[in-house]
Symmetry: C2
Subunit: 601 residues, 2 copies
């Protein structure tokens, strides 16, 4: 295992290894997609940590974990099937390696995880070091801030390493960052540093001497008592691409047992010019770094630009996922109505409530998995007061290669239980506009959820209205497939096509309904078909999902409907393609066809 070997490596060997690893990362992310910029920035820091600590004993706790590729390679994991089925996950996972302390796909949890672990360790009399590895964008998240501020003391043998690349996923304008970077921002230091940068690769005696001088300059500049008040000894800033410097600082830290906040400055995308230039674009990339114009995200972006042109009340909000949710153009076109609050979904939703109260029509654009952090604000701040906030819930359903931590499988259950909140699932991008306009006109809180990736246009022209919440896409007289969500509707239509091709009777018998409004349900429709065979089909958990809502509808009325729910088993689905995940969950076209045939519907 490299992780064990490199503890004996010289600095020179480590530097050469760093170059190799960097090449490897670029290669593998090109093949499989993944987080590029952040991983490239963390190569030397990760190497230095492994050089100094023994993470078979000590704990390395990643925050978010999208900087963990180097760590993965050092601990015996092959990135060649990165984020693919059967390959390694894009995030740390204890199931994958004992070197991964915790699952880490969401931001801000590492500090609390570390403090909790230390509490257990100290009660048991353990002596292992606990190292949390956090990016500056994550540190601004409320979960991290709570943990940093909660107590004025911190556990011993606890090291919080800040990988400060000066930016959030998109842009960083946070006050916290200013606070952290007080020292580095000082002109005098900056000048000195820029001079040093020019001799960055300098390994001559003179270069080493300069680096030493740099240290003392830093010591003089950096009276950063912010973290001292939170119980840390503050050390830094340290050049995160200088292995020699990093190793020497970490050795010193290892020797003391006090809690340390180590401030490391890195460059996102380091070593890949395009990513250095535009790290935001290369933050998370798909295979071969391509993007789709035919995604719901892209459609949402176009839609919001169009509607904002006509309606001055529309504002768009996101939490450090501007590009991901399709708001790049909106942000440029309507800067005064665009709000990116950094990784802070909870406060973002409360902010939207404030805007709605002030007369705006805020549209909150988040991935489903991150919306989980805002359930309380959705209920407490938006829905109790019935404020007209629209939630655009991207990456709903299976997300593919991001895997377990990022699946959009909870939102339907928790959104459905919040009074006064409508929940929609458009079948395609055209219907996204339709549903959005309907939600906007209602003047009430609403969530619109849709999956990632390519979205096929499914036709159908019956616009959503109070009296036609659902749309029958393919008529039939005996059995009804109630499908909700773009992928489920597409599969249901395809299933009917295949069935009809095999047996003409199905063309007459089987109806496919686009259940684009999950809350409210189309009650009139459900009453009408109460005597028929009904199959609810969705890409999501049965627990609390769309089918569950239909089952509740009948059972609340004591109606004994011939109803079958088809949804995913309640388990965590690992990284694979979305199609493979649907396969694993038995939710493909073939599964539906087989089910319908077996049941003789």
């Amino acid at each position: 295992m490299l992780a064990e070997e490199i503890r004996t490596y010289s600095i020179k060997q480590l530097e050469s290894l760093a170059a190799d690893l960097r090449r490897e990362i670029i290669e593998k992310v090109k093949d499989s997609g993944g987080h590029l910029s952040s991983n490239l920035g963390a190569v030397e820091l990760t190497l230095a940590l492994h050089k100094v600590f023994d993470f078979s004993q000590d704990k390395l706790i990643f925050d978010v974990g999208h900087q963990s590729y180097t760590h993965k390679m050092l601990t015996g994991r092959d990135l060649s099937k990165l984020r693919e089925k059967g390959g390694v996950s894009g995030f740390p996972d204890p199931d994958e390696s004992g070197y991964d302390a915790f699952v880490a796909g969401h931001s801000g949890t590492s500090v609390a995880l570390g403090i909790g672990y230390c509490a257990a360790r100290d009660l048991a009399g353990g002596t292992e070091k606990v190292v949390c590895f956090i990016g500056d964008a994550s540190l601004g998240n409320g979960v991290a801030l709570e943990s940093v501020f909660a107590s004025e003391t911190k556990p011993n043998n606890f090291i919080l390493v800040l990988n400060d690349n000066g930016m959030s996923i998109s842009k960083n304008n946070s006050a916290l960052y200013k606070t952290i970077s007080k020292a580095t921002a000082k002109k005098r230091y900056r000048k000195f540093n820029s001079f040093l940068s020019r001799t960055f690769k300098e390994t001559s005696a003179f270069g080493r001497y300069l680096r030493k001088v740099k240290y003392s300059v830093k010591g003089w500049l950096n009276k950063n008592d912010f973290f001292e008040r939170c119980g840390f000894k503050y050390i830094g800033p340290v050049n995160g691409h200088d292995i020699s410097e990093l190793v020497s600082v970490l050795e010193n830290i290892k020797a003391i047992d006090k809690p340390v906040f180590l401030h490391v400055v890195t460059r996102k995308g380091m070593g890949y010019p395009a990513a250095e230039e535009d790290p935001s674009r290369y933050h998370g990339v798909g295979k071969n770094f391509t993007e789709s114009e035919h995604s719901f995200s892209a459609a949402l972006g176009r839609l919001l630009c169009d509607r904002a042109e006509r309606d001055g009340r529309i504002a768009a909000l996101t939490a450090a996922m501007k590009d991901g949710v399709g708001l790049t153009a909106f942000a440029e076109k309507f800067p005064e109505r665009f709000f990116d609050a950094g990784i802070s979904e909870s406060s973002l939703v409360a902010m939207a409530a404030g805007m709605a109260k002030g007369g705006l029509r805020p549209v909150v654009c988040l991935y489903s998995t991150f919306l989980q952090r805002a359930l309380d604000q959705i209920a407490h701040d938006v829905c109790i007061s019935a404020l007209p906030v629209i939630f655009c819930v991207d990456r709903a359903g299976f997300v593919g290669s991001d895997g377990k931590t990022h699946q959009g499988l909870f939102d339907l259950a928790f959104l459905r239980t919040v009074p006064g909140l409508s929940v929609f699932e458009p079948k395609d991008c055209a219907e996204l506009a339709d549903v959005f306009d309907f939600a906007l006109a209602s003047g009430k809180p609403a969530a619109i959820r849709y999956p990632n990736g390519y979205a096929k246009n499914l036709g159908g022209t019956a616009r959503i209205s109070e009296t036609m919440l659902w749309e029958t896409l393919s008529e039939g007289k005996e059995a009804y497939v109630l499908a909700s969500g773009a992928r489920a509707v597409a599969r249901a239509l395809e299933a009917k096509k295949q069935l009809s091709a095999e047996d003409g009777a199905y063309a007459e018998k089987l109806a496919v309904v686009n259940c684009r409004s999950v809350k409210p349900l189309d009650e009139a429709f459900l009453k009408k078909i109460a005597e028929k065979e009904i199959v609810c089909f969705e890409e999501g958990y049965t627990a609390g999902g769309f089918g569950s809502a239909v089952a509740e509808f009948y059972a609340k009325r004591g109606v004994c409907a011939r109803l079958t729910l088809i949804g995913a088993e309640n388990t965590f689905f690992a990284h694979a393609s979305t199609e493979e995940q649907a396969q694993q969950a038995c939710l493909t076209v073939n599964h539906l066809v087989k089910f319908i045939k077996n049941r003789n519907l």
Copy 2:
């Protein structure tokens, strides 16, 4: 309306009014229960705000809002039926008065609400002032911290008033507090202040002179650049019980348009000696300030003390609700295994994950309504890794007088959807122990939910086990009432008693089952009774609730069960007694009796 009148009052008149209001608050909280200490501390500050601003135009945004009683009285609301059905709410509510900007029962949202409102105001060209009123404990919450740190600029005409009483609901040991109070803590100032305190009531010219001196001393001491970096002009600290001082400072603030952070120091419980002595005890009190020994909270406290005695791995965690969840004795007995993280549910749950990983058996004790803030950590940090954390979910179901913002009606829906998490609802305090031991022995994540208030012992001796998840409390052959949760089980038993008294046949026919495990369901039992009449009865929303799980169970299997769900309509239930809320939701014994008779079960 007093709020309009007092803008013309003299300082003397305001001081005399303050005394009256304070008396009124003590009187009314004695009658109805409510938040005592925090409201007593905020009297003068609220008066001064209303004296200077016109909140029919300007916006006053409370954080948590348990300091809003003075504001309520000034804006024409009679506290005589405080927190009772038809009376005023214990928290701000725009439905109650146009003077309440937002609903506010949970912590930390005011800053984001205010910033959001300002964004809308500025786009519309409005000129009203926005004043957020936040306590120091709330400011340490992640939602508030996110909002404070998110940007280095803040809107103009935005005033964040910190009511700093130096403590959280329980005790405050936060680093943030240290940061805020840097200036007040300075010895020199303290000494000076204590001298002034002795002349607190002094209204002589000399007293006024002294106060002026005090100002300049403060100006000299308080270079608090913490908030300056976040875009605020910092002003303070100001004595929060000196109306004259407060009014003069606020007048100055009103005259400038820059964002201001106003630091006001108050005394929690001010004017009620017992509450001043022990503000934590008088934070939130029931009618006549009584507490119940026969509550689940008290039972949990005793249980955890007992189990912690025998099992060194057990640790108890809470988020500023130590007394409320019954952990007072535990905290005294096992200080090294007790963790109160302040109002920070999100990081608390991540911390518990860290502890579990380190070998402890953390028990996270929170109210249902606050657990909403930790859904993401429950899923992402605890359940993906199947870490053995037990969640004790207090105040589940109707909470009574705390009303809309505090109902424990969402947890079942969102907990049920998280893979790997068991969910239990013991029928009484005896069974709480039983279920707890079962969950602990499983070594897997589990949630145990129970209501507030008096909990009757219901008998029954069949201990929960893998093969007997549910317990038939009263046998019957034809119809099954599946009840989940203490109150539902008690009502179902009482309903059967009444029915049997009226008609002996019911004694034979109707079974009452204690469905103490909501996840997993007792599948063997459900299969056994699949042909019978089934009624699911719970105190909670049907949407995503227990009955929903049963409906899913049958519908997933395509079983057409004769099933009826009885649960609450999906709406926000306002303050009233829990019994009145059950009445409103049609979930009383009488409703159940009537339903069973009508259906001829």
